[in-house]
């Protein structure tokens, strides 16, 4: 065997090991969802069954958790997308001396452990309700939305910032020179340009909220989300019902992720053709936005 061959064999073995580690447990979990024993067992495989799936449907606690997760996810999207957008716009305008401090403050939640975000949110709002006597603020849904949004807003902001870097300010100047008002410029120029980013940040925000555990488990108080119900079940004991649920969740998230990816690609392709067209019409003189995009 040549030394090249040895390297190739080692690489193959390493890749097998890596992806085996990554996928092995998930595949095994998938198999246990269809096996009959009461304990999730993949080997020996006794008999094929789908009754773990039918058990799920009658599980009201899980269904309630799912419903709460969806509500909280919607709330998080409604809060984080505008906040992330505002955060990104301010970032492009803030004076450079202040930019470092501003960046430090708004990005710090991404680096803060999730449990700490949950704890600090609960403590703060508890004190707010004590002082203001506004009891409705000390509510699991509200706290979960606010707690998760502290760091999810930063994700959204980073998505918007990436898009804003390619924005050509000349378009805005032109519209203003032609007599458009500031809100009109925002509505008709900036927002359409940011539309793909609005979409991807909304999806990102929803998924991050849906699968969040560390912050939610503190902030949700007495209520439940799908993930906190799941965590409670897994800690109590392992049944193939959880495997079945996992199979379903994985199927749904995968379908969502693939749809998202496909949409994103179509958007990118459409943009590429639009750019090519613009270049032809321009007579081959790419402006700054074009230059940045290509």
């Amino acid at each position: 065997m040549t030394s090249q061959g040895v390297w190739r064999a080692m690489l193959g073995f390493y890749l097998l090991l890596f992806f085996g580690f990554l996928f092995g447990p998930l595949i095994v979990m998938g198999i246990t969802a269809f096996n009959t024993p009461n304990y999730p067992q993949a080997y020996p495989f006794e008999a094929f069954t789908i009754h773990w799936f039918s058990d799920l449907l009658g599980d009201s606690e899980l269904m309630e958790g799912l419903q709460n997760s969806l509500i909280i996810g919607a709330g998080v999207v409604a809060l984080t997308v505008p906040v992330g957008l505002a955060g990104a716009i301010v970032m492009t305008q803030v004076y450079w001396r202040a930019r470092g401090l501003y960046y430090l403050i708004v990005v710090s939640p991404v680096l803060t452990p999730g449990v700490i975000l949950g704890i600090s949110t609960v403590i703060f709002w508890k004190d707010v309700t004590r002082v203001t006597d506004a009891k409705f603020l000390y509510d699991g849904f509200f706290l979960a939305i606010v707690g998760q949004s502290t760091f999810i807003s930063a994700y959204c902001m980073l998505v918007f910032l990436a898009r804003l870097q390619r924005f050509d300010r000349a378009q805005e100047e032109a519209a203003l020179d032609l007599g458009a008002t500031q809100p009109q410029v925002f509505r008709h120029i900036l927002l359409p340009f940011l539309r793909p980013a609005v979409f991807s940040s909304a999806v990102l925000a929803f998924l991050s909220s849906f699968e969040n555990y560390n912050t939610t488990t503190f902030a949700i108080l007495a209520d439940k989300t799908l993930v906190t119900v799941l965590a409670g079940r897994v800690r109590q004991g392992t049944t193939p019902e959880i495997s079945a649920l996992a199979v379903l969740i994985i199927a749904v998230t995968l379908a969502g992720a693939i749809a998202y990816e496909a949409l994103r690609r179509r958007e990118a392709a459409r943009e590429a053709t639009a750019l090519a067209q613009a270049r032809v019409e321009d007579g081959g003189e790419p402006g700054p936005a074009l230059a940045a995009a290509t």
Binding site: S108, P113, I250
Partner: protein
């Protein structure tokens, strides 16, 4: 210091000092806003550009109001104030909810004393259980980070420098797919693999390799594996991004000059990929040290990870000031770690969070 006995419940502050501190706490956000304002004004004066527009002129009234309200709410009400409140609360005694703000409510170090000595008043013995859990958590997180780096580096290098575009797209997809699966479920999957009647034990016993199943979870092997499993991809992507921008010619040049392969990695690739390495290590360390799901699900009966202890302070001991103190200790440790990484790798925050 160890033998000094603290006087029971020291009356730290008079009501005047109490309200002064509370007032200062509320003032912090205003100070931040003022600092921004001053910086902005100075910059505008320094630029002396008559065409420069103010924030209000540039955005219009409605937009300016929206930006200020949204960012103000986020930065101050959602980020800064809760953190300050947590710090403040950790210095309060444990009281029934109605007594907060009452005469019993004064600043105290009781929660921190408990962390170190295992009692809110005595200082004779140390709180071995919690201190050990803390040290173990930090040490194990560093270990997990180290393992993730060495496990991911070859693949990141391969994807960035050697893989063709078709294979690269495939590998990327394969890497992203498991990342969409919930953390709890990934820990659960690991439990199915490693439990005493899990797949690996069943296989090994069935094949006659082992006479008795090994208790991977009880030995904490499950927990460490689960942590590495959960956060592997956050090491992979920063590494890949950093190595990807390295010019292949540099590697060729080093090879032509006769450098052995490990020299090339140590002296060419790794120094170049420093920001990516720093970013990946920071993310994996932070997430491991703050992990709650993997230790709760995969930890053996005797394992004590620090984050679940914090959780129990809140929802089993119902001692919120102590929980806050513990959370603050964890947060400070993480900040120290990030600053150390930034210092060692000579990178800035923007490069880490990219």
């Amino acid at each position: 210091m160890g033998q000094r006995r603290a006087s029971p419940c020291p009356r730290a502050g008079s009501p005047v000092i109490e309200s002064l501190v509370k007032g200062l706490l509320f003032a912090v956000p205003f100070v931040i806003v003022a600092v921004f304002w001053i910086l902005a004004a100075r910059e505008r004066r320094a630029a002396a550009d008559p065409s420069a527009k103010s924030f209000l002129e540039r955005n219009g009234g409605v937009m300016a109001a929206f930006l200020i309200v949204a960012v103000g709410f986020w930065a101050i009400v959602m980020i800064v104030l809760p953190q300050l409140y947590m710090v403040d609360f950790s210095f309060h005694p444990k009281l029934p909810a109605k007594d907060y703000g009452g005469p019993e409510d004064h600043y105290t170090l009781a929660s921190y004393r408990y962390f170190i000595y295992g009692s809110t008043e005595e200082t004779d013995s140390y709180n071995i259980v919690h201190l050990r859990a803390f040290v173990l958590t930090i040490g194990a997180s560093i270990g997990v980070t180290f393992f993730s780096f060495w496990f991911c580096y070859p693949l990141a290098y391969f994807m960035a420098q050697s893989a063709g575009p078709a294979r690269l797209r495939m590998l990327m997809l394969l890497l992203i797919l498991p990342f969409w699966v919930n953390e709890i479920l990934r820990a659960f999957a690991m439990r199915i693999m490693l439990g005493t009647s899990g797949l690996i034990n069943n296989l090994l016993v069935g094949l006659g390799v082992l006479a008795e199943p090994i208790d991977f979870l009880g030995l904490d092997i499950g927990m460490y594996t689960g942590l590495a499993y959960a956060y592997l991809l956050l090491m992979m992507f920063p590494l890949y991004n950093a190595i990807e921008s390295l010019d292949r010619n540099q590697i060729e040049a080093a090879r032509d000059l006769g450098a052995p392969w490990w020299h090339i990695h140590l002296n060419v690739v790794m120094p170049f990929a420093k920001p990516g390495i720093a970013s990946g290590c920071t993310m994996v360390f932070m997430l491991s040290a703050g992990a709650l799901a993997a230790p709760q699900i995969l930890g053996g009966p005797n394992s004590l990870w620090f984050t679940p202890i914090v959780y129990d302070r809140f929802y089993q001991a119902f001692n919120w000031p102590q929980g806050s103190a513990y959370a603050l200790i964890l947060l400070l440790t993480c900040i120290v770690f990030v600053m150390a990484v930034m210092r060692v790798f000579k990178v800035n925050l923007g490069e880490i969070t990219r």
